[in-house]
């Protein structure tokens, strides 16, 4: 085991630099994200994820956020097991009719203030599944959405960008990167 632990002290970390904010999709952000809420939250967000009908592709990339390259927790962002502990609900997938109630109930038990991030093309408008008898479609048709992150699935770096934007809504688009 020491073979794995020792190099960790000697070699540089794998971790990527913090992503620069791009203003493309993120410009739509902050419907309800005001300064007051940010003061309450400080620099830390607890995130709960719900798969409301995804193909599981989006989950794979959300998982990747925890690997050593993206290391989500260094930004004060962490995944929690219960919605009752969460500030942010990350929802993936076109909402299926069979998952609607579970999604609503998860949202309801979250303490306010709370935010919803819709992850992936399916969560935005139902993606390829919107027309199905079994699907409601966009997450925003079931719970209010504050931020959309596009992609099928979005790359981890895009997810990171989006989530960091939740922490710093007033951050201007930065051209220079700050080391992570």
């Amino acid at each position: 085991m020491w073979k794995f632990i020792l190099p960790a002290f000697l070699l540089p970390p794998l971790t990527e630099r913090r992503p620069a904010f791009g203003d493309r999709e993120l410009a739509e952000l902050s419907r309800r994200l005001d300064k007051a809420a940010h003061r309450k939250l400080g620099r830390s967000l607890s995130i709960r994820h719900v798969d409301a009908g995804s193909c599981n592709g989006c989950e794979l990339e959300i998982h990747a956020l925890s690997n050593a390259f993206y290391d989500l927790e260094r930004f004060g962002l962490r995944f929690v097991a219960s919605p009752r502990h969460a500030d942010v609900l990350l929802v993936t997938g076109p909402v299926t009719k069979n998952m609607r109630e579970a999604l609503e109930r998860t949202y309801e038990v979250m303490p306010a203030p709370k935010w919803v991030v819709a992850v992936g093309d399916c969560a935005i408008d139902g993606g390829m599944f919107g027309a199905s008898y079994a699907v409601i479609g966009a997450v925003s048709r079931v719970v209010p959405v504050d931020l959309h992150i596009r992609g099928c699935p979005p790359r981890p770096i895009q997810l990171l960008e989006g989530l960091l934007r939740l922490l710093e809504p007033n951050a201007k688009v930065r051209s220079a990167e700050t080391p992570g």
Binding site: G53, G57, L60, I62, T106, Y133, P153
Partner: protein
């Protein structure tokens, strides 16, 4: 031989490729049911159509498949599940989607239909008398038993499903699964789509197997159209399929160790997985390689620099992975959790035709790449890893061996890429075909029928999980509740692929 005897009097459907399909009588259907129950053939699929039901049978020793179709105009067919339990959930799904009754079925409860679609039998003749949205779990009797309901929303970042544990103290007496939460109606969306759109839908059936699904779909469509993908495309498909397998094996081996609280392994495996996805991205422009396999071939090429780079990567991955395997071997506290935990007996794996590492860890040596070889595996043959123990440890070890094989295959394929076109043009026409591909999780069967306009009339996608989920219920029995995540992860069945 067995299949030939079953279909001796039946009429084969013209133009069904590559395996034959027969319209059979009810007595032949019942005979098939008996052969299944006797273990002479393996259930490979069972699905509904507008006015009939189809039954795919696998003859493992003969390496052959046949599809039997029974007319179902009166809305009933003799239940296979009545004598062969692996068919039960498939019949419940047929009942939910098409409204056909499996006469004599042991479990008539709905499966995918939770009473919320706004219609019943959405793929057959829709009715609006909805099912109730409540569900009757199996009754439990006995002293000092308690129940633990879990899900559909789980504590981690995973797909939704409901698990109902009945426990005596810490020991699981019974697990009952309830699935269908992520049912998206994919087969409904397939109808009317053209093959290109169909391939995209197939690639979104189970995100971790997007390459395998698109691969199986493309093979089914090509069989129906009687065309073949050009050699370079076939090799690139193999390359992507092995990269996908490798990424999943790397990631899951770590995740299983994580569920046994060995985080170090998880951290390093996650890094390896990320490296594979980045290489896939560099070669094919998408981390999961989605939408690259299309009917007729592949949508994009890899340049020679990309192939050479892959070659370098495999050296590096192999070196890192071997060190991790050594770590797994030397950590007795970890093996204490994985050995003899969640045992799946070989007899059950055989009965259910369990595919992938679940089957191969329990003595069932079936791998589509060698049993029903398709290009490029007709030239590059992996060795089939096989163990008998059937515990969590065996499933991990099979995946370790397979990851190693995938590394070899990636090297062999990358070294032998022929030049040439990337796809064969498609002329819309009618036809029927099946495609079977070994995804990382096991055998994926896709069957489709194209109409004269070239659009899909009916497409069925059968995930390997259909024959693995029920076995998880058995494997967890007698284990402690706290070991469920570990057992579950070692099976890693797909929710979305199963729910469709």
């Amino acid at each position: 031989m067995t299949l030939a005897a079953l279909t001796a009097d039946a009429t084969p459907i013209a133009g069904h490729r590559p395996w034959p399909r027969f319209v059979v009588t009810e007595s032949a259907w019942r005979a098939a049911s008996e052969k299944l129950a006797a273990g002479e053939v393996t259930l490979f699929g069972l699905w509904g159509d507008m006015a009939c039901v189809h039954l795919a049978l696998l003859d493992e020793p003969a390496r052959d498949i046949a599809i039997l179709s029974l007319d179902c105009a009166d809305g009933r067919f003799p239940s296979i599940g009545a004598s062969h339990p692996p068919a039960v959930r498939l019949e419940r799904a047929i009942q939910d989607l098409f409204g056909f009754e499996a006469a004599g079925a042991p479990d008539p409860r709905p499966w995918l239909d939770h009473g919320r679609w706004g219609a019943r039998a959405p793929l057959g003749r829709p009715r609006d008398d909805l099912r109730p949205s409540t569900y009757a779990f199996l009754p439990v009797e006995g002293e000092s038993l308690h129940q633990i309901p879990v899900g559909p929303v789980h504590a981690g970042i995973i797909e939704p499903g409901h698990f109902r544990f009945t426990a005596s103290g810490d020991t699981v007496v019974r697990l009952e699964e309830r699935l269908g939460y992520v049912h998206k109606g994919i087969e409904g969306l397939m109808t009317g789509a053209d093959p290109d759109r169909g391939a995209k839908l197939a690639g979104r059936t189970s995100g971790d197997s997007t390459v395998a699904y698109a691969f199986a779909f493309a093979r089914a469509a090509e069989a129906a159209l009687d065309i073949e993908a050009p050699p370079r495309a076939q090799m690139l498909r193999g390359l992507m399929a092995e990269l996908e397998r490798l990424a999943n094996h790397f990631g899951d081996i770590g995740a299983i160790c994580n569920d046994a609280a060995f985080v170090l392994m998880h951290a390093h495996c996650a890094v390896l997985r990320e490296r594979v996805l980045r290489a896939a991205d560099a070669c094919f422009g998408h981390r999961l390689m989605r939408d690259i396999i299309i009917p007729g071939g592949v949508a994009r090429d890899i340049d020679s620099a990309g192939a050479a780079q892959l070659r370098e990567h495999t050296h590096d991955w192999r070196r890192r992975f071997r060190a991790l395997v050594k770590l797994y071997d030397q950590t007795t506290s970890l093996e204490d959790r994985t050995v003899a935990t969640g045992v799946l007996k070989p007899a059950l794996a055989r009965q259910f035709g369990a595919g992938g590492f679940v089957g191969r860890a329990s003595g069932r040596a079936f791998d589509v790449r060698t049993a029903l070889p398709y290009p490029p595996y007709d030239r590059f043959v992996p060795e089939t890893a096989l163990l008998q123990q059937g515990d969590v440890d065996a499933r991990v070890r099979i995946r370790i061996l397979e990851a190693d094989q995938s590394l070899n295959l990636i090297e062999q394929i990358a070294d032998n890429l022929p030049q040439g076109p990337l796809s064969t043009p498609i002329t819309p026409r009618a036809g029927e075909g099946a495609g079977v591909v070994e995804g990382f999780r096991g055998d994926i069967l896709i069957w489709l029928r194209l109409g004269a306009s070239g659009a899909i009339e009916r497409c069925h996608l059968r995930d390997p999980s259909w024959f693995q989920w029920p076995l998880l219920e058995v494997a967890i029995e007698g284990n402690i509740v706290g070991d469920f995540p570990l057992c579950n992860k070692s099976f890693n069945c797909s929710y979305s692929g199963h729910d469709l």
